[in-house]
Symmetry: C2
Amino acid sequence: MIIDKRSRVPLYEQIINQYKALIACGVIKTGDQLESVRSLSARLGINPNTIQKAYMELENLYICSSAPGKGRFVTADAKNIILSSAKENTASLDKEILNLVLSGLTHDEIENIVEKAYSKANTKIKSIKFSEKG
Amino acid sequence: MIIDKRSRVPLYEQIINQYKALIACGVIKTGDQLESVRSLSARLGINPNTIQKAYMELENLYICSSAPGKGRFVTADAKNIILSSAKENTASLDKEILNLVLSGLTHDEIENIVEKAYSKANTKIKSIKFSEKG
DNA sequence: TCATGTGTACTATGTTGCATAGTACGCTCC
DNA sequence: GGAGCGTACTATGCAACATAGTACACATGA
């Protein structure tokens, strides 16, 4: 879990995104228990309320569910939910592409940039999988 | 000029982006005068200080230059500057692609989404060009 | 000359979202 | 009963952003 406290993206949202990623790429699986609010809070040096906020949001998305007194667990549908929401939610990618086209880049140039981004992403994923579980 | 006051992107940054786009796609050209601080402020219902901030930033990027008492004008290099900075600055696109890969989408699915985004962008540009100058 | 419209500079204040601090309570399991 | 879970609530701090208001210098043209 890598958090950038200076990013424009709020901490709670970064936590959400990282959990989605870890679940989608199989590091965390259905039935697995999420790290407890207090534990994650202590480990990342982030206020428990902020962790709680992120977890509540993951719950609202049906990605995890909580059992008071026990803990919080990944749902059976989590992976599908993440995948389909990524497919539907293309607004921010659309904006990026629009920006490139507006800036005067050609179709081929854009395709090239995307291809490079894809390679970078795959490299990064390998390192994430490697560092999260051993 | 379309501004979303509820966006997470600051107003001054939206203004910068829109000017970049208008210049890059040729609606505004080298030597053209930018709308005055007070005029744009009044038209968009945004505080003059905010417009000023956006204009100062465009100046720092050498996209426009100001002549006190006269106005503010698009530089000769503006278009090139915008194009090359767009090519270099792929960080946010990289993040979007990474997010898709992390969410479990395949290479083909991503290519497909990008292609659709490209079409959308071209459609949008036509309407921008149409609405800004007549 | 003077009014108008331009850029520029500055201080002060308000707003909002985010993050933190601190406390408290209920549940489960050993 | 204690430890470790989730949950709820109020209060406070903080930083970026936006606004409000004022003031001054410059260029242009009537």
